[in-house]
Amino acid sequence: MSRVLVGVKRVIDYAVKIRVKPDKSGVVTEGVKHSMNPFDEIAVEEAVRMKEKKLASEVVAVSCGPAQAQETLRTALAMGADRAIHVEVAGAEYETLQPIHVAKILAKLSQDEKADIVIVGKQAIDDDSNQTAQMTAAILDWPQGTFASKVEKSDGGLTVTREIDGGLEVIKTKVPAVISADLRLNEPRYATLPNIMKAKKKPLKKITAKDLGIDLAPRIKVVSVEDPPVRQAGSVLPDVDTLVAKLKEGGHV
């Protein structure tokens, strides 16, 4: 039986149209709907399924962020996590919070909580860094199974099917290990209203990075955040010859 630690991030909801701040310092987050990172939902689901299959004894959800990160943790609890840890990082520190810091926090917590498996989403849909799982594994010196599309328990360890370019790779790891969830790992359940109500009674511990002895000094500086280029308008051509000429010009034929 093992304890599973799941990292969840509160991000701008996937359905929201992102707007860049006029001063190019970031994106508008005030008054915008936020929800749990979809890949983290998959990670939570996988941990909860492990518990349901009696492969895990406890699921602990962790989130680093401002006070509202607790809502995301409640969602994780509603999905079936047993307890939650909120590592409060607010204000300017949160703006420069990077995967390296989160990885350090997760690594420290997995040692403190004696976790056997750490599961995180492969990346967050806001910064798309795709680094947290890898860095956490490196800091802990644990094996990693990234981009998992299937995780099975095999004698003394895990068999992880990974999504790689053009196919799948099957690896065996020992436990403890770090897993990052890919899109096809499972279909996350919907956090229903009664479960969200019940989740309010589950324990949620609040700590700070300082309690864990982790330095949150920024390692990078955001120079500029810009909108992606707008798609150029198409044009209607009078006949086939012009079309062919245009295609040749563009090097398509």
Binding site: Y14, A15, P38, I125, L183, E187, Y190, L193
Partner: protein, 85 residues
């Protein structure tokens, strides 16, 4: 006035309202439509018929859940996996 299945109807209404918060065309539209449907059938007194309606409501809850899941999955797939072959 006897109100058979009152609890179940209230529960269904609350569940649907809660789910409406994620409705793609907005919560307001969902809430108005939901209210209209429930008001329309509010005069029903036959317990059997109400039971059938609750069953239908529960089916709708499942459908909305499936819709949300599929919408999210497809969006993710399009954003991160489409190799536009």
């Amino acid at each position: 006035m006897s109100q058979p299945h009152r609890q179940a109807v209230l529960h269904l209404y609350k569940t649907l309202l809660f789910m409406g918060r994620d409705w793609p065309q907005g919560y307001d539209l969902f809430r108005k439509r939901l209210h209209k449907v429930f008001t329309k059938n509010s005069e029903e007194t036959d317990p059997e018929k109400i039971k059938v309606m609750i069953k239908h409501g529960e089916f709708v809850v499942k459908e909305i859940e499936a819709l949300y899941k599929l919408k999210k999955y497809r969006t993710m797939k399009r954003r991160y996996y489409d190799e536009s072959a």
